[in-house]
């Protein structure tokens, strides 16, 4: 039975698509057959972050409308044979997503895949509610910043009231906090909410912390999920996150300031 994971946040630009790409690649690299679906109808970007933008022929809405089969729309990743991408449509309106249509697609995918990662659009409109409706697990991507934390809390409220699991009174969605764009130095200086602060406010289980990193932009520039950049801090952070999601016990990293040597201080670091 497949596990459906929604990557959500409410606020835009916090790293949902980056996280969806990295986590789905991480799961696939560990041998779990995974599909990642872009729910941002009208503003698709997962294809670009995954580096498969020129291979998109059919999309999620085509499949819902019966204009293409799932197999026609799924794009097989060139780096990892266990990973597939289902892109969002770029042109049509959001109303194309129906509960029945999305439910049918997820049901069909669940027969073939172990993990279904749903990359939610920002906001609380249809795309976002559809992405989370069928979820078993929710990864709430949050920046250590007031508006992002507030929006995350709002999403938690929606997860708890408007999801399938809430409506059918099943075991609730498992919710995890993923803190991104973290800057330990600024936290130390009292300029940024700490991971403990955010956890305390949202009372969520911490899946991991991704530091603010140059590797993220480099990865998106080249269409490579950042987890493949195994030398980078962000890449390693996502590897840990995938391991923790799968139940491994990995100590948290990247939450304290790296000790800088005198040389680095004087001549600048990387």
């Amino acid at each position: 039975m497949a596990r459906i994971i929604v990557v959500t946040s409410g606020k835009g630009g916090v790293g949902k698509t980056t996280s969806s790409a990295a986590i789905s690649m991480g799961l696939a690299l560990r041998g779990h057959k995974t599909v990642v679906i872009d729910f941002d109808v009208g503003l698709r970007n997962l294809d670009l972050i995954m580096g498969c933008e020129r291979r998109v022929v059919y999309d999620l809405v085509n499949v819902i409308n019966g204009e293409a089969t799932l197999n026609q729309a799924l794009i097989k990743d060139k780096r990892c044979s266990e990973l597939f991408i289902l892109p969002a449509s770029q042109t049509r309106d959001k109303d194309a997503l129906s509960i029945e249509g999305v439910g049918k697609i997820l049901e069909d995918l669940a027969k073939d895949f172990e993990y279904i990662v749903c990359d939610s659009p920002a906001g609380i409109e249809r795309g976002a509610t559809m992405a989370m409706y069928f979820a078993d697990d929710a990864i709430v991507v949050t920046n250590p910043e007031v508006s992002s934390v507030r929006d995350s809390d709002r999403m938690l409220g929606i997860l708890a009231s408007k999801s399938r699991r809430a409506e059918t009174a099943e075991e609730p969605i498992r919710e995890y906090l993923l803190l991104t764009r973290y800057n330990p130095e600024r936290v130390e200086q009292g300029e940024m909410l700490s991971v403990e602060d955010v956890q305390e406010i949202l009372s969520l289980q911490l899946l991991g912390v991704v530091p603010e990193s140059k590797a993220i932009l480099n990865a998106s520039n080249s269409g490579t999920p950042v987890i493949l950049d195994t030398d980078s801090d962000a890449g390693q952070a996502y590897s840990d996150i995938v391991a923790r999601y799968l139940g491994e016990d990995k100590p948290q990293r990247f939450i304290v300031k790296e000790k800088q040597g005198l040389f680095k201080k004087l001549f600048g670091g990387k």
Binding site: E145, V146, G157, G190, E191, M192, D197, I201
Partner: protein
């Protein structure tokens, strides 16, 4: 940036301000999230009824809904204007 600013900026810890603001806001929003959906409309209608008889401001009425375990409390608070009490 002057030396004085340097010391001053170290004192104002904006992260703790952010945390306090968020804690208050989130608590408030969570409380209103659990409110029944009819509450705002009921508040308006109650206000309309009261205003038929007494001239009160819109801000003079407040309704709060609290949930403690199985117990739900609906509190309605109306502040009458001064001339009413005098008259």
């Amino acid at each position: 940036m002057s030396l004085l600013d340097y010391f001053r900026s170290r004192k104002t810890n904006t992260a703790s301000v952010a945390k306090q603001r968020l804690q208050i806001l989130v608590a408030h929003e969570r409380a209103s999230r659990n409110q029944p959906s009819y509450l705002p409309k009921m508040q308006q209608e109650l206000l309309a009824v009261i205003r038929k008889y007494v001239h009160v401001d819109e801000e003079a009425i407040s309704i709060s809904f609290e949930q403690n375990g199985n117990e739900e409390t609906l509190e309605l608070n109306i502040v009458f204007p001064d001339e009413m009490r005098a008259g």
